[in-house]
């Protein structure tokens, strides 16, 4: 038991943790998520200019026309850009903070859509814009219709 007088802090802060759980309905995007589970990358296509987009859009922003056509984008693409993050960020599958060894990349798929992904090659200096990449999927039983169902994009020979 200390005999010192405890000083009240001039300014008090208090923690207020709260957990918020959302129940999202994917709706029309379910087709994309199911596609991922099946090992396919599907994108919506604008009927006016043919642009394919991932994530899927309900309308094309430029023409405001309902996009109902889905196009399989194939399994390969070309590297557009890559970066590695040097600080811990949350893993949305596990909810945990972690470091990320694999660079995040933008890939332009055979079908024309561009998407985000991870690269198998961990050394960014070995990555060149335009290099050919192939999707490496999680085992089928682990796929959840999430972005990381495509575990990595692997550089392959032309």
């Amino acid at each position: 038991m200390t005999t010192e007088q405890k000083q009240d802090p001039e300014f008090i802060q208090f923690r207020y943790p709260r957990e918020v759980t959302y129940h999202h309905a994917l709706g029309y995007q379910s087709k994309f998520a199911n596609g991922l589970k099946q090992g396919r990358i599907l994108a919506t296509k604008c009927p006016v200019d043919g642009r394919c987009t991932i994530p899927p859009r309900i309308v094309c922003p430029m023409h405001h026309v309902r996009q109902t056509e889905w196009v399989d984008q194939g399994q390969r693409g070309r590297l557009i850009s890559a970066f590695k993050i040097n600080f811990p960020m949350f893993n949305s599958r596990t909810g945990e903070l972690q470091t990320w060894e694999n660079p995040i990349i933008a890939v332009e798929l055979e079908g024309g859509a561009r998407m985000d992904g991870w690269c198998m090659e961990t050394d960014p200096s070995k990555l060149k814009t335009g290099m050919l990449l192939e999707a490496v999927w999680r085992p089928e039983e682990e796929r959840q219709g999430r972005a990381d169902d495509i575990m990595y994009w692997k550089p392959i020979e032309e």
């Binding site: 918020v20 959302y22 129940h23 309905a25 709706g27 309900i58 922003p61």
Partner: protein, 383 residues
């Protein structure tokens, strides 16, 4: 240059408990395309100038949800702003955009999926974090406190409150978009479980409810070109009350009285009971219809109970309140205020089907946000 502001088209989804097969964007798209189809307007220069949305990000998901939804309501390279309040405030602001001369034609959209998150949780977060949240106050308990104070001070009976619900559900049976139209008796309501004394489960707005609403506003000249049945916004008023419940006289709704006065002054309304033909108000709990009636000037202070007993606010009465069934028949928060205005528009265009108040020429729409109606918004309309 602006003249009056006209509402030229309205649309709403069918309100349902859980739209598990639809993404939020689909609800927004359906109502947007509906009003565009009605008017032939498109997202291009000289047509729709901008969009005003009303929604809360916290209800949609992560921080910044609207960024990924704006494109659905035509925000591509076009002006769009989002009101973080009940949809009635979007109607208020959309009208201001036109009255300022900045825009000629504005699309308004309001959307909410209550099924995505526990309503009580986010409303609890809406209380100030230091004093009220820490004692567990949320909007339900705030309403409970107000209901207790109001009914005690003025001797409003449980039967009078229950009558509000009975009327609401009966009216809703005429409304194809309404969610709940079961026929209830006063006994049914009073026998339902206590939710938050003195509010019973059947006296609270059903939840969750998902849905969206849209309308197109235009300047006077434009409105007359777009439709031969424009509905004019004649008065606008909002008002904030105190937040801490202890600072308020909960038995009165001063902020609503003030908001109503602001709107009525603009519109030249002196005797609301006589001059309005229909009222669509936001009553999340049964006692609120009685209390808001007082604030809107339909009756004197403390006379809300007598008003419902008189039958004047029933269908066929002097001033039917909520022919659509109101919030008590199932409307999402945030969408509610805009949908109230949309219902008034349908009434004034003679397009309200089985719930039509015949010969309606003047209407009042009302929206609310915050605990126990802290922020009130009143919009008066005429055809």
């Amino acid at each position: 240059m602006a003249g009056r502001v006209g509402i030229v088209a309205v649309a709403q989804t069918k309100f349902e408990g859980k739209t598990l097969d639809k993404h939020t964007a689909e609800l927004m798209y359906d109502v947007t395309r509906d009003v565009m189809g009605q008017t032939g307007l498109e997202f291009k220069e000289g047509s729709i100038d901008g969009t005003v949305a009303a929604s809360y990000d916290l209800l949609s998901g992560p921080a910044g949800a609207y960024m990924f939804l704006g494109y659905v309501v035509g925000a591509y390279q076009r002006e769009d702003e989002r009101v973080l309040e009940d949809g009635a405030l979007a109607v208020y602001y959309g009208a201001m955009q036109i009255l300022s001369g900045h825009c000629d034609t504005v699309l308004l959209v309001s959307y909410t999926k209550e099924s995505a998150i526990d309503k009580n949780l986010y409303e609890w977060v809406g209380m100030d974090q230091i004093y009220q949240r820490r004692v567990g106050l949320d909007f339900v308990s705030a309403a409970g406190l107000q209901a207790m104070r109001y009914t005690t001070k003025y001797g409003i009976t449980p039967e009078q409150c229950a009558k509000v619900v009975v009327k609401a559900r009966k009216n809703a049976s005429n409304n194809p978009n309404a969610m709940c139209c079961d026929s209830l008796t006063v006994d049914d309501v009073l026998r339902s479980k206590m939710l938050c004394d003195p509010i019973r489960v059947q006296e609270a707005k059903p939840t969750p409810v998902d849905g969206a609403c849209a309308m197109i506003l235009a300047s006077e000249d434009r409105a007359k070109k777009i439709t031969d049945k424009p509905v004019w916004i004649t008065g606008l008023g909002t008002c904030y009350d105190q937040h801490d419940l202890g600072w308020r006289e909960l038995a009165d709704c001063e902020s609503l009285t003030t908001a109503a006065q602001r709107a009525y002054k603009m519109a030249g309304i002196k005797d609301p009971m006589k001059e309005f033909d229909v009222a669509e108000i936001s009553e999340q709990y049964s006692y609120q219809e009685l209390l808001w009636s007082e604030g809107l000037g339909f009756c004197g202070k403390g006379e809300g109970g007598k008003l419902i007993d008189s039958g004047k606010t029933d269908m066929g009465g002097e001033l039917p309140i909520n022919p659509s069934g109101g919030m008590l028949s199932g409307l999402p928060v945030c969408v509610a205020g805009m949908q109230r205005a949309a219902e008034c528009v349908l009434q004034l265009r003679g397009e309200a089907g089985a719930r039509q108040v015949s010969g309606a020429t003047k209407a009042v729409a009302h929206g609310v946000d915050g605990p126990a109606g802290q922020l009130q918004c009143v919009i008066t309309l005429e055809n």
